[in-house]
């Protein structure tokens, strides 16, 4: 859906890694060992499995397809590939995943993607344009609305552009950014990481990837992006991280 972003993100820089890889690695570092993680497909799936294969071997991965405690050898294309079932501790019905695990408050971290995010971390994955007559019909909510509400902590992964980091969402699919402390804990994008201001909940630039600049970040965000007091440069990929991520993706 973001062909420009994908191509740019997939280009290796002078240090030999890509922005896509850096996003995945930065997200994986946010996961602590043993945490219970509700995994979405794509970049979050790569990030969660990378964490499992590096610093968080006891992380528990749950996919909404009902596979609990999966340890895939190959990154799945969908959230319900046979690999996920075959390597799961158990496979349970989907209604139980949402009622007895997610709604019951048993999930530590949930990952979300979207087409649009606003400055409070609310997300749109439903439509561009009016709901009844959209210019672009997007996939819709899936698990996102309840993940945003019930996971103890959420992280958003979304490539940046002024069309995706917007001042006003076309539709609010999920998010409690207007309820203090209920917005995402972090938004990982292709220039770095945004985190909410503890008081206002507004997303601020908290960390830049090596090589990214504040100006570059501001150019991709449609609201006036604030910079956190302790803006840091995020550690570049370690060899182990890059090696394991590439091995995972090449299988």
């Amino acid at each position: 859906m973001n062909a420009r972003g994908s191509r740019v993100g997939a280009t290796r820089n002078d240090c030999g890694w890509t922005r896509d890889e850096m996003m995945t690695i930065a997200a994986s570092r946010l996961l602590s060992n043993g945490c219970i993680c509700f995994v979405g497909i794509g970049l979050p799936s790569a990030a969660c499995n990378l964490a499992r294969l590096t610093h968080a071997p006891d992380i528990v991965l749950i996919y909404e397809s009902g596979t609990i405690g999966t340890r895939p050898e190959v990154l799945p294309l969908s959230i319900g590939d046979g690999e996920l079932a075959a390597t799961a501790a158990c496979v349970i019905p989907l209604p139980e995943v949402f009622a007895w695990y997610l709604q019951a408050g048993r999930i530590d971290v949930g990952f979300l993607g979207a087409a649009q995010v606003d400055r409070l971390g609310n997300l749109n994955s439903t439509v561009i344009g009016p709901y009844a007559a959209p210019t672009t019909r997007l996939p819709g909510a899936g698990g996102a609305t309840e993940i945003a509400t019930h996971a103890r902590r959420t992280c958003v992964m979304l490539k940046a552009s002024p069309r995706s980091f917007v001042a006003r969402l076309d539709f609010r699919t999920s998010g409690r950014g207007d309820v203090p402390g209920r917005g995402p804990a972090a938004v990982i994008t292709d220039f770095g990481v945004l985190t909410p201001d503890p008081a206002s909940g507004e997303l601020r630039l908290d960390g830049l990837f090596p090589g990214a600049t504040v100006d570059e970040a501001r150019a991709q965000v449609a609201w006036p992006l604030a910079v956190g007091e302790a803006l840091r440069t995020i550690d570049p990929p370690r060899d182990e991280e890059l090696t394991k991520l590439r091995a995972l993706q090449e299988r």
């Binding site: 859906m1 319900g80 079932a85 019909r137 609305t145 309840e146 699919t173």
Partner: protein, 270 residues
């Protein structure tokens, strides 16, 4: 339970205008049955499925549906469902009314349907605009705590169609692997048609396995590879390459129609 040909099963259980749920979450999607519905040119169907996936993209593109109840309408890991988008954005080949939910909401709606309760309750749809565009999402007040919770109306399809690995001669159906909301959708339906990879003489008693007893099954249809390009655990893997390829096939109306003519319309049901 009756053992039927795919053609006869669709003729008898999927009349024009009915509400049909072809369930299976990524796994065991009943593609063969969907293709037969397309060949029989069914019209004005109310299609229900958490994840429309390629199967509904094809049925919508071929003009079978007038209404869709769903919760996530993309090509998993790839991108858009272009035929679904074309129907919603351009009303091609026909307008498509949407009854849109979240996964959690649809799961509860199927579960209520299986229990023959008129509605299901969840702590859901919070912080979302969905209730503002879907008047079926309502609320109820807990008679103990006073908490206001979301409700969804039960889903009770006229027919649910599943694909499974095996049935036995009695018509018991055994499923292994990811089940999604298959059991709930099956038990919520007025009629249940199951296409299977194989029919075996009999199962051993299957304590705690996923099994639909024969007397809740209306018809069994033998349809080997009936979930392709989705998969059947233990039989064949998901054809991820085709899911990627579909993105190109489905982008253009003419390319789409040509593919459907060659691969669906020109083929006979098994």
């Amino acid at each position: 339970m009756r053992l039927l040909s795919l053609r006869a099963a669709i003729e008898q259980y999927v009349p024009d205008g009915c509400c049909a749920a072809l369930e299976g979450f990524t796994h065991l999607i009943p593609f063969a049955a969907g293709h037969e519905i397309i060949r029989q040119q069914k019209r004005r169907l109310h299609l229900v499925r958490m994840t429309p996936d390629l199967i509904y993209d094809q049925m919508i593109g071929m003009g079978c549906a007038s209404r869709l109840t769903f919760s996530w309408g993309g090509n998993p890991g790839v991108g858009s469902l272009h035929r679904l988008r074309d129907a919603v954005e351009q009303a091609w080949p026909a307008p498509l009314a949407l009854d849109e939910h979240t996964h959690a909401g649809m799961a509860v709606a199927y579960t209520a349907g299986a229990a023959r309760l008129p509605f299901g309750v969840l702590r859901g749809y919070l912080g979302s605009d969905l209730p503002t565009v879907n008047p079926r999402i309502r609320s109820i007040t807990c008679p103990y705590s006073g908490e206001v919770l979301a409700t969804v109306p039960a889903i009770n399809p006229d027919v649910t169609i599943l694909h499974a690995q095996r049935a036995d001669r009695e018509g018991n159906v055994a499923i292994e692997g990811i089940v999604g909301a298959q059991r709930e959708a099956a038990l919520a339906a007025k009629a249940l048609v199951v296409t299977v990879e194989e029919i075996v003489e009999r199962f051993p008693p299957m304590m705690n396995s996923v099994l639909l007893p024969h007397w809740v099954v209306s018809a069994i249809v033998q349809a080997p590879r009936g979930a392709w390009p989705a998969y059947a655990q233990g039989f064949y893997a998901r054809d991820n390459a085709f899911y990627r390829q579909w993105d190109l096939i489905s982008r253009d109306r003419e390319v789409f129609l040509a593919w459907m003519r060659e691969h669906v319309l020109a083929r006979q049901a098994a």
